[in-house]
């Protein structure tokens, strides 16, 4: 197989959890609610997916569990920030810390293990679906989870919704000026809360991809900062869906390249390549300044 094709596939794989989380964060932030809690939502999603798959035996139900866990984590953040008036960044950090502690605790209490959960059934791969009856001739789609095309389709769906639907327009309006949105007769709290929940669902799904799409087990703190990278993608994409999409692909590519290079270039320490996506993120954020501004009322409650 051509190395470039391999790199592209790897990029898509690496981009999938970021894509889901970043679009979740994008929806939330466009509605005006700061969302630094993507990391925590992903972690909850990853753990709940394993729990669901383990308890029911079905990875699809596991995915549902993951989505619900993401929504719950997001609802906590939204309630604290929108209803109780907590600082949105502090509330986000609290959700992240809570998620890290809670998943570790439950891992130990439910499975009786430390660090790594038992293996469960993972979601099907493209290969199995496409070549159900005949064995794959070339292994083209080997190792690509069914969640990868689903994630890209969802991202396109979110883009279309934001651009063409009434719901998308109203969501953006709440992020531009909650006062004006209220004067136009919108229920700002409801729209923001729903946006946060939808965002949490996507982020939870991104987490589930890590545990039951990519691997088939939960590892403590397995998100490894991907939630923060997703936030960076939202900022780098200047809160525009197409921009965020490009940023995610860029980060995915850097991640893929680092893995690809570390396999081929064993003379160099692997840690050097592991840092590549983060270094790239830092460099681009430092030197790139787009014209578009963040949502005008980001972080402002009426």
């Amino acid at each position: 197989m051509m190395p470039s094709f391999e790199l592209i596939t790897l990029t898509l794989l690496k981009a999938t959890p970021l894509l889901l989380a970043a679009f979740g964060g994008l929806i939330c932030e466009l509605s005006g609610l700061i969302n630094f809690a993507l990391e925590g939502m992903m972690l909850c999603g990853a753990f709940a997916a394993i729990l669901g798959a383990w308890a029911t035996g079905s990875p699809w139900l596991g995915l549902l569990f993951g989505i619900i866990a993401g929504i719950c984590a997001s609802a906590v953040h939204a309630t604290a920030s929108l209803k109780l008036g907590a600082n949105q960044i502090v509330s986000s950090i609290a959700v992240n810390l809570l998620a890290a502690g809670l998943t570790g605790l439950l891992l130990n209490q439910i499975f009786g293990v430390y660090g790594t959960s038992p293996t469960v059934a993972k979601l099907p791969e493209m290969n199995a679906l496409l070549h159900r009856n005949m064995p794959s001739p070339d292994g083209t789609f080997e190792g690509i989870s069914i969640l990868v095309p689903i994630a890209f389709a969802l991202a396109c769906g979110v883009m279309a919704c934001l651009r063409w639907t009434v719901a998308g327009l109203r969501l953006k309006a709440c992020g531009e000026s909650p006062e004006a949105a209220a004067a136009a007769g919108l229920s700002v709290f409801r729209i923001r809360f729903l946006a946060a929940c939808a965002g949490g669902a996507l982020a939870g799904m991104g987490g589930a991809y890590l545990s039951i799409g990519d691997l088939s087990q939960f590892v403590e703190n397995m998100t490894q900062g991907r939630g923060y990278l997703a936030i960076a993608a939202v900022i780098l994409g200047r809160w525009r869906p197409a921009g965020v999409f490009s940023a995610v692909l860029f980060f995915g590519f850097c991640d893929a390249a680092s893995e690809w290079l570390s396999v081929r270039w064993t003379a160099m320490p692997a840690q050097l390549f592991l840092g590549l996506p983060y270094a790239a993120c830092f460099t681009v954020l430092a030197f790139y300044s787009g014209k578009r501004r963040p949502p005008s009322a980001l972080g402002r409650v009426e």
């Binding site: 063409w164 639907t165 327009l169 309006a173 004067a183 136009a184 919108l186």
Partner: protein, 514 residues
């Protein structure tokens, strides 16, 4: 005029207090179907509060609002909109990064299965725009429009929603004369269609041109409701201030009467070939030259959106000049920033003080301190002397008749007119050498705008040069020594007081040079 039985809107024993301040006291008012009902009163008389209660933005402490005889229970504007009530507030609420089109249709989007019918929306919005003769590109982000055009967007939004009962709070304050006429025509056509309009305005000319009834509010209570045919401007003005006569009759009628100087006063500000790159939708400033003498009052007339804001910003140092030269008192100031120009004595009042002059949520004393925090009176080795600053603020509040409870109140708690007074008071207190005033009488009542004019005349006598940007030609004609007209970023011409001609200025304003 269609009159049916029950009043369409009835306020019954409405009272509202903010802290210890009685915004509305025991208001009883009936508004009939298909009537244009003007609400008049001085700044802080409680007009906006009353209207906010009809729109569900403020809850009354006591009393009730009835719609067609039934009590209205409103918790928020959504309930009001559902009941067919629309409001254009004085302080604009809009979505800066959404397009004009999206701003207008939001809340009642034409849609099928959740997808916005963009083409249908565009058609209707363009229709509305052309009915008014506004020149707004609906695809531009609203935040890039000049301030006045944003109000036009707001008006279009209201008309788009086809509200049955319209509340308009100072709707014409940034429209030019021609636009006001068109706007009043639209109001008349609304009335003919059976809609009811509640109209707050300080411009009695407009009130008398369209209103059927006029209700005068004073200090939170209704003084009287009169039929406009059976009253006069002077009676309304008298009721507003509560005395037997207008408290400063001279100032209201007095025109600029500049003592003839023995010799030509020296030029203070000279602008040569000033060019500014465009910020947003406004035209570029192209090669503008003029000079202003010490103590002169220079008016800049023009239709909304012809580069006034950009020019004002360039003069104050807020915007960089891309070409040309500005000399102030002999020194080249072209490259100086706002701070250096402030220290040289150039102060500007922005067209939108809420955005560019006042910190809405900080106390008034901090707002008044801004710009003079370095003065030794107000600080000692970097520590603010709060006592001095608060004292200074209370002096300004009482001198300028700002309706604030204390200098610790933030501007956000004041009415629109009082915020304007506060911004003006701060500027005048700094005794600038050059004052650049954009729409200085915006939101001011008769009394306050008379005070503002007196202040301008007084400053001019002390040698301050004043540049007044206004869309109101009458204001400029009575205030200025010279008037220039700006059209699409160029000066059409300048005219001396002795040669003032409404006709010529009007032609310049639409771009006919002769």
């Amino acid at each position: 005029m269609a009159i049916s039985g029950a009043p369409v809107v009835e306020f019954r024993n409405i009272s509202k207090r903010f802290g210890s301040f009685h915004a509305n006291r025991n208001i009883n008012l009936c508004v009939d179907q298909g009537e244009i009902h003007a609400i008049s009163g001085e700044n802080g008389a409680g007009k906006t509060t009353l209207m906010n209660m009809l729109f569900g933005r403020v809850m009354p402490d006591a009393g009730s609002v009835l719609l067609r005889g039934k009590p209205l229970r409103m918790r928020n504007p959504r309930d009001a909109i559902r009941a067919g009530i629309g409001m254009v507030p004085q302080e604009l609420l809009y979505f800066p990064q959404l397009s004009v089109l999206e701003n207008i249709i939001l809340g009642s989007e034409p849609s099928r299965a959740g997808i916005i019918g963009r083409r249908a929306a565009e058609k209707e919005v363009l229709c509305l725009r052309d009915a008014f003769g506004f020149q707004i590109d609906p695809s531009l982000p609203a935040g890039e429009l000049p301030f006045a055009a944003r109000r036009q967007v707001e008006l279009m939004r209201m008309l788009y929603r086809r509200a049955e009962i319209l509340i308009l709070d100072e709707p014409t304050s940034s429209l030019g004369p021609g636009e006001v006429e068109k706007f009043l025509d639209v109001l008349r056509s609304f009335r003919a269609g059976g809609r009811t309009i509640l109209f707050i305005s300080h411009r009695l000319d407009e009130v008398f041109a369209v209103a059927d009834k006029i209700t005068v509010l004073r200090r939170g209570s209704i003084v009287r409701t009169l039929e406009s045919k059976k009253t006069s401007k002077s009676e309304i003005a008298r009721l507003m201030v509560g005395g037997d006569e207008i408290s400063c009759p001279n100032a209201v009628t007095e025109d600029r009467n500049r003592p003839a100087a023995a010799s030509e006063p020296p030029p203070l500000l000279e602008v040569e070939g000033l060019c500014v790159e465009s910020a947003g939708a406004e035209p570029l400033i192209k090669c503008i030259s003029f000079s202003i003498a010490v103590g002169e009052i220079f008016g800049l007339a023009g239709v909304v959106g012809n580069g006034q804001r950009l020019l004002a910003r360039a003069l104050s140092g807020r915007e960089k000049a891309s070409g040309g030269k500005m000399t102030f008192g002999g020194a080249d100031i072209t490259r100086l920033g706002i701070d250096a120009r402030l220290r040289a004595g150039i102060s500007r009042l922005s067209e939108n003080p809420a955005e560019e002059a006042l910190l809405p949520d900080r106390p008034l004393w901090e707002n008044f301190l801004l710009g003079r925090q370095r003065e030794s009176k107000f600080q000692k080795s970097g520590i603010i002397r709060k006592g001095e600053a608060v004292q200074f603020a209370s002096d300004l509040i009482s001198e300028n008749g700002i309706a604030a409870q204390s200098p610790l109140d933030p501007p956000a708690s004041l009415s629109g007119g009082n915020r304007q007074k506060a911004a003006l008071a701060r500027l005048f207190a700094g005794s600038p050498k050059l004052a650049i005033l954009e729409q200085p009488s915006r939101g001011l009542d008769l009394h306050a705008s008379a005070g503002m004019r007196d202040k301008i005349f007084e400053l001019s006598r002390q040698g301050t040069a004043v540049i007044v940007f206004s869309y109101d030609l009458d204001e400029l004609l009575s205030l200025c020594d010279r008037i220039a007209v700006i059209y699409r970023g160029r000066l059409m011409g300048t005219i001396e007081r002795s040669l003032f001609s409404r006709d010529l200025l009007g032609r310049w304003m639409v771009g006919i040079s002769s």
